[in-house]
């Protein structure tokens, strides 16, 4: 079994690519932590909230917003551990523990709170639908992944987890798209917001499907 473990088959180039990817990921995670800390200690008149003053008086909005901000950051930790074959094989208990953290945070905290603030999203109906759909699909995919692993259907679990994490990553990709498109085209603030509300996660899902297809192909080839 050990002989065909993918981690050993990896060549040097892939290793460097993974290290680079983890460094880039760490950089964006650092940015996300800084964004989160803007709201600590809890303030209702800073950053994003400065333009949400029409809703900030709503108690459920306030609760949802702060739950989302301070819980969602933990979901991104999964990027370090959950997709590594070696960690999963060497420390399966840690894969499970962090997996539970991801599922609990997503399904009980970050997901539902995300859905509530999505209802009040900036940029009108279009972005409200985009963010509500994002929150709904994120919870759905995460629940599917949990369901599959309880049923011991590992490759299905992997596929749903990849989809779920692709949506979790929208926190990073949405902001990255905004940054790039603003630098390139100087669009108006709400025009760009409406664009990234969709672009920020749909493209992630397309890439997730490509990765899943590639995995299936790869597994098919190795089984032969």
């Amino acid at each position: 079994m050990k002989a065909i473990s993918p981690s050993i088959k990896k060549n040097k180039l892939t290793r460097y690519a993974i290290i680079l990817l983890l460094l880039v990921y760490s950089y964006f995670l650092w940015l996300m932590i800084k964004i989160t800390l803007q709201y600590w200690p809890i303030q209702t008149d800073v950053a994003f909230l400065s333009i949400k003053q029409d809703y900030i008086h709503l108690l459920h909005y306030r609760i949802a917003f702060f739950i989302h901000v301070f819980s969602a950051i933990f979901v991104l930790l999964a990027g370090y551990t959950q997709f590594s074959n070696s960690i999963r094989i060497k420390f399966p208990q840690w894969h499970r523990r962090l997996g539970w953290l991801y599922v609990v945070v997503t399904l009980l905290f970050a997901g539902p709170s995300g859905f509530i603030i999505a209802i009040y999203a900036n940029g009108g109906l279009s972005s409200q639908i985009a963010f509500c759909l994002l929150a709904f699909l994120w919870m759905l995919f995460t629940a599917m992944a949990l369901f599959k692993i309880i049923k011991k259907q590992v490759s299905s679990h992997k596929a749903w987890m990849i989809r779920s994490f692709a949506l979790a990553l929208s926190a990073i990709t949405l902001r990255a798209w905004k940054y790039v498109l603003v630098a390139a085209f100087h669009p108006k603030p709400m025009d760009i917001y409406q664009i990234v509300a969709w672009l920020g996660w749909t493209l992630n899902l397309v890439i997730a499907e490509l990765i899943i297809l590639n995995k299936i192909k790869h597994e098919y080839q190795t089984t032969i």
Binding site: A47, S50, Q53, Y179, P189
Partner: protein, 302 residues
């Protein structure tokens, strides 16, 4: 020269009165008697002449004492100090007393009083007025007021010869200033200097959005302002101040309102007490979005 006589008489009276004010009580009595004498002398002027004089001073006051606006153009400057070539200036002539003129000018966020003598020559009023001299940018105005075409033409020289601009000229027209909340920016789309340094080549566009709403008459909602560029928001907010005649310290805003808004007349350096409730609310809202745009528009985050 009955007018001259009258002027000199009253001048003597004034000067002697002023001189004697600080001296002893005896001197005061002396002044009073002299004043009485003056009045007696005045009485000796025939009624016709007197009427004529009174009529003339009334006309003079009516013609002279008003507000004049135009461009304050630099004549002598130091290019290394980033001089402002043109500013809109308003000169208000506030009162006259004999041959002394009292007024004030408002330009580039600076409201300064001036005092000086004037003479009347060929139907024109020629004045030389000094600013108090306790401000870095104080100087001397020399101008000719033409009551016929209601204009003021003249020059200004700075006291401090090390300033970026040491001499300016102006050709001002008589105007009336009245706050009118309905004054609109209209469909404005221009490029303004991005920085306060006029020597740079960086421009920033003010789009027609800046004039989309009149923030003095319409209570704005978040939907109205959330999709606007920071610069447009800034112009929309400052249009409120402009309607009240605020003279901008901020160079970019001054550039814009001076050059592109023809109804704009700078008459005050503090309009905060004049703002209406709608305006105050809109200023708060717009500022919030300006600040947000400035902090977050082109950065990764929120």
């Amino acid at each position: 020269m009955s007018i001259k006589q009258l002027f000199s008489l009253s001048l003597i009276a004034l000067v002697s009165f002023a001189c004697d004010q600080n001296s002893s009580k005896d001197a005061k009595e002396h002044v009073i008697t002299e004043d009485v004498q003056n009045i007696d002398k005045e009485k000796t002027l025939n009624a016709e002449q007197k009427e004529k004089v009174q009529h003339k001073t009334a006309v003079a006051k009516d013609v002279i004492l008003s507000l004049y606006v135009g461009v304050f153009r630099s004549k002598k400057m130091n290019d290394k100090k980033n001089p402002m070539l043109e500013n809109k200036i308003s000169i208000s002539l506030d009162s006259i007393s004999n041959d002394v003129l009292f007024g004030h000018s408002v330009v580039a966020g600076n409201n300064r009083s001036f005092t000086g003598k004037f003479i009347k020559k060929d139907g024109l009023y020629i004045a030389e007025c000094k600013e108090p001299g306790d401000d870095k940018y104080d100087g001397v105005f020399t101008f000719t007021l033409n009551p016929q075409d209601e204009s003021i033409k003249g020059a200004w020289t700075s006291n401090d010869k090390k300033l970026a601009v040491t001499e300016r000229s102006y050709d001002l027209k008589k105007v009336e200033f009245k706050y009118n909340p309905h004054q609109e920016l209209g469909d404005i789309s221009v490029e303004v200097y991005q920085s306060s340094n006029a020597n740079t080549d960086e421009f920033e566009r003010i789009t027609s959005d800046a004039g989309k709403f009149n923030a003095s008459t319409t209570l704005l909602k978040k939907e109205d302002v959330e999709n606007m560029y920071k610069r447009d928001l800034e112009v929309m907010r400052n249009a409120i101040y402009a309607r009240h005649g605020y003279s901008f310290k901020n160079r970019q805003m001054r550039n814009f309102f001076d050059a592109y808004v023809d109804w704009y007349i700078p008459v005050s350096t503090d309009v905060s007490k004049d703002l209406t409730d709608i305006e105050k609310k809109n200023i708060d809202l717009i500022k919030r979005y300006e600040k947000h745009a400035e902090t977050y528009y082109d950065v990764y985050g929120r």
